[in-house]
């Protein structure tokens, strides 16, 4: 080992020896991006096909899985990759939904794509404000600060009830399927497609970012803040960046929800939503975007299963309303005890076992 070091020539003149060929393949951003785009395209085709096979209510649920997945994926970047905890991501969905509602009501000529971009910008701005204010907070203190956001922000709708519509929220009309496709495609179907398209574009961006420089920096900060700082990584700025991207995702998810339902009400962005998003992330699996998919799926369909179970047992509505929560909570405990890395962790271990056989 030391023999190769005993050289007299300065290192800059050294031609790389056989140990370090300078033509070694480097991970390039482009193939990664291409892979992600191809995967997104496949997923979109799958969703389009799926919407033809199921009824209108199921189509709504598919759309819901889509935008919840985006919100959870944004949280994944924050919690999974950078180790910060936010209990207030429902607040960013609130911002996105109300930004959409206000734009549609006051500037109806603005196209949908522009609204979506606008909500991302608004969400990111909110993320900058919150992120910069909370950048010095760690762990439970950050969680506490974001918790306050989730509790406080929806109350704005009640306070400014003349603009934000009070507890009834804002009601508006969004165009569904384009008239040329009338008869072929239902409104729900079209909206599910639009939402999944938006979500997948955002996920491609998210996946590419977390595979690249930002992802490496975030993981470095999560694992060892001091070592990351000494490597020259601006710790504070990088953390705020993660927060801002995450907030943008939440806001876009809220916009998708508003687009789907044609309403924005404070009660749909309760503290319970914020907590469910985090719980779904843990359930789905921290550390991978797949975790967001499983988490969103669980969030939508476990609630449904819980409701059906309550109906089956003929429970009174005051009990039945809480059954989904109990169901979800129990499953979360079981999953975390049995597979600490969530559904995705369990599945990837399973596939590993199968491959070794």
């Amino acid at each position: 080992m030391t023999s190769s070091l005993r050289r007299d020539d300065p290192p800059t003149d050294v031609v790389a020896p056989k140990a370090a060929p300078s033509t070694r393949p480097r991970p390039r951003i482009r193939p990664v991006l291409l892979t992600h785009l191809a995967a997104a395209l496949l997923a979109l085709l799958g969703v389009v096909a799926l919407t033809f096979l199921v009824g209108p209510i199921e189509q709504l649920r598919i759309a819901k899985v889509g935008y919840l997945m985006l919100a959870i994926a944004g949280l994944q970047l924050l919690v999974g990759a950078s180790g910060q905890i936010s209990l207030g991501h429902g607040a960013f969905m609130f911002i996105g939904a109300y930004a959409t509602a206000l734009t549609v009501l006051h500037a109806p000529m603005v196209p949908l794509a522009a609204i979506m971009v606008l909500t991302v910008v608004v969400g990111c701005l909110a993320g900058i404000v919150v992120g910069a204010a909370t950048a010095r907070l760690h762990g439970p203190y950050l969680a506490g600060a974001t918790l306050a956001l989730a509790v406080g922000l929806p109350a704005l709708a009640l306070y400014f009830s003349d603009i934000l519509g009070g507890s009834n929220g804002l009601l508006f009309k969004m165009r569904g399927a384009p008239p040329e496709l009338a008869g072929l495609v239902t409104d729900n179907q079209w909206k599910a497609w639009v939402i999944w398209f938006t979500v997948l574009v955002a996920l491609v961006v998210l996946a590419t970012l977390s595979r690249g420089r930002l992802g490496r920096r975030l993981r470095a900060i999560r694992d060892d803040e001091a070592a990351a700082a000494m490597a020259g990584i601006p710790v504070g700025r990088t953390k705020v960046t993660a927060f801002v991207i995450s907030a943008g995702c939440g806001s876009l998810a809220g916009a998708c929800e508003a687009y789907l339902l044609g309403t924005a009400t404070p009660s749909s962005f309760s503290l319970a939503l914020s907590l469910s998003l985090l719980a779904a992330l843990v359930l789905g699996g921290l550390g991978s975007l797949w975790g967001a998919f499983w988490g969103a799926l669980a969030l939508v369909y476990l609630e449904l299963a819980g409701k059906e179970l309550a109906d089956l047992l003929g429970l009174s509505s005051s009990v039945a309303d809480n059954v989904p929560l109990v169901f979800f909570g129990t499953l979360l405990i079981v999953i975390v005890m049995a597979w600490p890395m969530g559904i995705h962790g369990a599945l990837s271990r399973l596939s590993g076992v199968v491959r070794r056989r």
Partner: protein, 241 residues
């Protein structure tokens, strides 16, 4: 230029709350020197390095100069730009990333992509065992290999001063010797200045030019490595008699 010390510390004090961890430490390191910071557990060695690199705030009145530039109070992440690289205790290797990703972290702040690639080649040349492990997660490395990654990552920044916190921690004596020899060679080739914190005084003094002995946060002895090896105050600082 040549008589400007590369690292100059004047009257440096550090507090952890009410506890004073460093008491008016002053020391000077000339370019190209390897200097040892020695002392028993809790004597302030790690605190000294952490304060130099901005991870721990220095008390008012302290002054830290790198190549004549006052860096007291500058944020930790700006230190690599000022030519100061710090390998924290235990290495601080990010186990979640691969070997190469870890190394690349050290050069991330450089704008010039070609320069980064060349720095990476140099590090691989310095630590041939890392080449084969390039794409393995750092979690799979042995202790010695992790230390190589940690030092390699610091060298990616092409620092003028390398602060090393106990590189021998948890390593076999043979590996420790290899790392010490490597530092020595590196200095001879590139003129790198090294500040080495060590518990293992004999192995540190075997490659250093001179050293400082800390006891309870104050410098109690300084001198050339040969002098220190024979000095009673060394024994006193370590063994307390």
């Amino acid at each position: 230029m040549s008589d400007t010390p590369i690292l100059q510390i004047e009257n440096l004090s550090t507090y952890y709350g009410a506890v004073q961890a460093l008491r008016s430490v002053s020391l000077t390191v000339q370019p190209g020197e390897i200097c040892a910071v020695l002392g028993a557990n809790g004597s302030g060695k790690t605190t000294l390095l952490r304060t130099i690199s901005g991870l721990q705030p220095a008390a008012p009145g302290s002054r830290i100069l790198v190549n004549g530039e006052d860096i007291t109070g500058a944020p930790a992440e700006s230190m690599v730009r000022r030519g100061l690289a710090h390998v924290p205790e235990g290495g601080g290797v990010i186990v979640d990333l691969t070997v190469e990703e870890n190394l690349r972290l050290g050069g991330l702040w450089r704008a010039d992509r070609r320069d980064r690639a060349q720095a990476l080649d140099e590090v691989y040349e310095l630590f041939p065992p890392l080449v084969e492990r390039r794409n393995q997660p750092a979690a799979s490395l042995s202790g010695g290999e992790r230390q190589m990654v940690a030092i390699g990552r610091a060298l990616m920044a092409r620092p003028a001063v390398l602060l090393l916190d106990e590189p021998s921690l948890g390593l076999a004596p043979l590996i420790t010797q290899q790392i010490m020899r490597l530092l020595h060679d590196l200095r001879d080739r590139t003129g790198l200045t090294v500040v080495l914190v060590e518990q293992n005084a004999a192995s540190a003094l075997s490659i250093t030019d001179h050293g400082f002995v800390l006891s309870q946060g104050a410098v109690v002895a300084r001198g050339s490595s040969a002098e220190l090896l024979a000095d009673d105050r060394m024994r006193h600082a370590y063994l307390g008699f």
